[in-house]
Structure formats: C-alpha cells, structure tokens
Subunit: 378 residues, 2 copies
Amino acid sequence: MSAPFASLDTPVAIVDVPRMQHNIQRMQQRMDALGVRLRPHVKTSKCLPVIKAQIAAGASGVTVSTLKEAEHCFAEGISDVFYAVAMAPGKLAQALSLRRQGCQLSILTDSVFAAQSIVDFGKQHDECFEVWIEIDCDGHRSGLNVEDGVLVDVARVLIEGGMRLRGVMTHAGSSYELDTPEALQAMAEQERRVCVTAAQRIREAGLSCPEVSIGSTPTALSALNLEGVTEVRAGVYVFFDLVMHNIGVCQADELALSVLTTVIGHQQDKGWIITDAGWMAMSRDRGTQRQRRDFGYGQVCSEAGDWIEGALFNGANQEHGLITLEAADCVDLAARFPIGSRLRILPNHACATGAQFPHYHACDADGDVQIWSRLHGW
Amino acid sequence: MSAPFASLDTPVAIVDVPRMQHNIQRMQQRMDALGVRLRPHVKTSKCLPVIKAQIAAGASGVTVSTLKEAEHCFAEGISDVFYAVAMAPGKLAQALSLRRQGCQLSILTDSVFAAQSIVDFGKQHDECFEVWIEIDCDGHRSGLNVEDGVLVDVARVLIEGGMRLRGVMTHAGSSYELDTPEALQAMAEQERRVCVTAAQRIREAGLSCPEVSIGSTPTALSALNLEGVTEVRAGVYVFFDLVMHNIGVCQADELALSVLTTVIGHQQDKGWIITDAGWMAMSRDRGTQRQRRDFGYGQVCSEAGDWIEGALFNGANQEHGLITLEAADCVDLAARFPIGSRLRILPNHACATGAQFPHYHACDADGDVQIWSRLHGW
C-alpha cells in the first residue's frame, strides 16, 4: 500500500476496504443467523459507498442521526430510513417534505407532548407519520421506562391520532461501559427483554405494535438469542475502533479506519515525536480513557499498520500530535522516525474521528485508493 | 434576536457579531498600544468574513494552521501568510505553488534536517523560501531551546542555503494552564524574553534575523511590554470561550460563539434535559475539565444568552446533549424547558466547536442572520 500512500498529503483518513467488507459480512451473517433484520446506523460513516456496501450485503434500510443523512440516503434510492433521535417539533416540516417525496421515513418519540405534536402536525398536513416509541432499557439516556403507564398513553395518542405506530426501539448505550462476554451477554439480554416487554405492554392494551428494534454494536455482537426482536441497529461495527477493541468485540485486524500522518519534528531530550495529526484530525474523543487500556489519542502504528508498542499518543494540539516513546525506545529518535516519515493512528472512536474529515481515502486489497466523500453538518 | 432564531434548524453555531467586533478591536488596540503588529491566527474561525474583519481593523497578514487556510486567504487577496506548523518536506510542493502564484507564504522549521530539506527543495526549484525558526519558550511542544547551539546551525543552513530567514517565533501554549494575572504576566514576559534572546543569538553569530513573532491569546492580553517583539499571533480572542474565561482574560459578555439547540426530551425523575446538541455539535473538547471551573460540555444559557446557573451539560452522545438540573430546579422540568424550546450553549473551546459546523450563523445587532461558510479538512 506504500506506493499510493506516498503521494497522499497528510493527515488523511484511511478506510481499509477489505477489513470494512469483512466487518459488514460479520455483522450481517450474525443477524441472519439470529433471524433478525439489520438496519445499520449510518452516523458512523456518513458515506454512501459504505452505506451501499451494507445494503448490498443484506441490510434492510438504514438508521440515521440527522435528517440530512436521511435526505442523502433517500437521494440515492434508500427509502426505508429511521431517524433515531427524538423528534423535535421544529423538524417535522423537513420530515414531511421527505415523506412527500416518497421516502418511507420513520421518526421517534418518548413523550405524550412530542407524540401529540406529531399528531397535530400530521393531521394539519394530512400525513400519517410512521412513529417509533423509545424505550429506556438501561438508564443511560432517553426513552420511557417499560413500567411507566405513559408508554401505553404515547402509543394511544399516536394511534388514535391517526399515525402509524411502527413499534418500540431501544439502544443499550451502557454496553460501552462493559468488557467481559458475560456482562455483554447479560446487557444484550436486558436490551432484548425490556424492549420486547414494552411491545407486549402496548399489545396488551389492544394496540398494534408490530416491530421491536434494538441495538448497539457491543450487544449485537454478544446476544445469544433475539426472540421477539424484529431488527437490530448498530453502527460502529463497520469500522470498529479502540473503544470496541477494549470492550472486546473486535480484534486488532478488524480496525478498518486509521489516520495517516507525517512526522514533522522531535524533542529528542523528552522522547517526543511531533506529527501533523492533532485533535483536528483525531477529534478530542478520549473514549478509552476510562477503559481497561487508555490509548491516549489513538494507537500509533507504522505506515503499514503494525502497532508500535511503547509509543503513546499523549498530547494533541489543533494540528500537532505529540507522541511519547518509552525511554528505551528514545535512542536516536530522529533516525528511527525521521521527519517526513509516515505513521498511522488507530482512533479511539471511529464516528468522532471520521467526522473531522470531508472524505475518506478508501484503500482496496490492491492498494488502490479512492476518495469517498462524507457528510458534514446538519 | 428571537425572530430569526425561531426559523433556524438546530443545532447551529451562532456568532454574535457585535461581540466579535468588540474582541477584534480590543486585541488590535492593545497591540497598537504595545507597538507591535498583530497577525491573527485564523485557525479559530477558518471563515473569511471573520478574517476580513480582523484585517479591516488593522491586522498585518494572517497565521494559518494548514496550507488549505493559506490558499483560501490568498484567493481572497491576503498575501502575507505564515504557516505556523513545522514544515513537512512533503508539503513543500504545495507551498511552492502558492509562492509561484504570488502569495508571500512563510514557513516554519525547528531542525537542521527540515531546514536542509527546505534548502534542497528551494535550490532545486530556484525558490527563495521565507522561513521562521521555532523556539521552545515553555517546554510544551515543539521548537528549539534558546541555549541549544542547533539554533544558530539552523539559521546558518537556511541563510547559506539561499533562503530568507524571516525571524524567530514562539508560542507560549503553557499559558493555557494559568489563571492569575501575575502568572500570565510572568509567562508573557518569559515568552518575549526567550524569543528576543533567540534572535540575539542568531544576530550575534553575524546572521540576519529581522523579526520576532510571539503569541497566544492569554499572553497577548497579559504582556506589559513587548520590547524587541515585532508581531504577535493570537487566535481564539476573536470569539473567546470558556477556557479563556477560566484563564481570566475575558468577561462572560465577550463570548461571541454559541450553539443554539432544541430541547427534545426529558428524564423528569433524574432531572435531565435532552437536547439536539451532542458532541457532534459541541465537539468532544473538555478543555475546562482541569481548570478552576469545569463547564462539562459547555455553559447552558437561555435562548437570549443568559446563563442558567445550576444547569450542567454533563453528557454528550453524537446527537444528544444531556443537561442535568440541580434538584431544586427539577420541579416540573418539562414546563420550564418544554420540548421544542431553545437553549444556547457556550463552548469550552471555540476552535474545536466551530470545526464541527460547515458554517456559522452570524447575528448582527439588529438580529439579522447571515450564513458564513467555514473551511473543513485539509
């Protein structure tokens, strides 16, 4: 891969396409075996060639984190789009516009107030929105408690208001805090059980609740059975990252995103290498800080991708990366890592690092590089 | 300002133009009084209307953190551009191209190796590059120690190699760790003294070293005299932010950048408000974490900009902000902060938060909003 790499200005975000394809196959085959549909969350890549590879492998529709992602996917012919952030009333006009163009956009709520605003807006514009109800399965963010009577109230408001209740959804974000197979399996089962129970509560009230959507990459890769679940949403599996590696759901050779950087200086006395990948390239995401291994701003690798143990990416300014070497490795730093030589950095969090770049440089098995643009902003 | 704000989709990055103009005037007047030129660092805004306002107020050229910023400024007629990151040999062709088009681009080095690579490339292409030497005044990052004989070696390599030595430069990045006027004044004096001494060392060796360039926003606003200095580089003063507020170099009513966000949900039992500004909008920058006051992911304000004390922006997912209210403020959260209502968030670090947005929404004194695009990537 060194030939095309040599011509790249740094910093650039490299996607290892064979690894990405492997990751896509791995998740799709797992979901197929568990008998559920996979609706990948495209907030990780925000990149059409990646999304198309997921669809080609068998994904059913997509999950998005912004309506801009929804518009972008729909413009490329992907119609079944789930905007999985609680709907703000002010965004309903944009959602309506997408549906009027033929996009089967579905939206999310977790309160009577927001459900009523969807109903009111839908009636006003003669639109039957497709709506999911968010369930809180682990206390980490939004969603309704399955024991809370409001759950059935929200379903009733939507259905009696003429909207279509697609189902219930949850996201076990707490799985990011775990790192043993046993704990992850237990969290996956909790996510499944709570969300299936929520659907049952609604059905017991005589209301239709066809679908049960769950998912996070750690739980999707840990669940032993998904009885009652109809679809799984997961995102970061497409590239994986060091946070996922610490959690234990991927191997080092499955990390498909890296940042290529150039050595621009040294502080020999301190054992420092200075590079042109600072936080503007890596993001400020320090997601591994409280995990079993703190990778600083990322794992330092050779240009070919081999991990350099003892090289710690400890500091980042806007366009400066500061890598410290263990004392034994500091002898003649400038000869070992000369100015102008290249390193690759594996990111803590692929979603955050990818977002710092207008495009990926996608590298295939033959070492050919293509530029894949990605979305920025809202 | 509420009328145009009401029509904005959130999250958006709001620039308060009167505050920005005040900040520009404040820094320019201070530099004028100290008898030095101001060369603002445009890495903060990456936005032409902001840069033009700085030039209009009296700035002499610009400092950039990427060659893309240099190209962008030069395309708009700003010729005197200092690329203040140590030059990688692989970027020399791009620098040459800019100079061949007439841009008075100057570049930076802190080693004999890199200086020699500039000389070799310059000779090969018959170009006399204008070069600065980076000095380490506080041990925080790159640059040569003023006591190190290599300093004169680098100057000699450049000058005898036919390049033009513009001068020496330093950046007192350690000033970000201080928060008393006395400590800041001492650091400003250290920055000045070390860099002036470096110029003297070169001059004592019989070599020409015309300019002395220093600067960081905290030291620029704290220096009592700048004898021997020819120019100051500072960037974040144009917007200021909570990090600068903690350092003590700006008042709350000088913070010119904020993120407008919408309330999308609550967890009443926990006293949580959920918004549509997560880390994708705020960045993951937690620059106030180790300062005198930790602002979480930013200071929560009303839509009009009044600080809401007791509201802590403690958590951020990609498109979810999680704000916790102190217990006494939690009564009827949904009535006080209804779904669909707006909040404004002051960022920890203006450079990092701005970078998350493709454009700013610039709001003038009459409440009119203009869209100002900004650069993304390299």
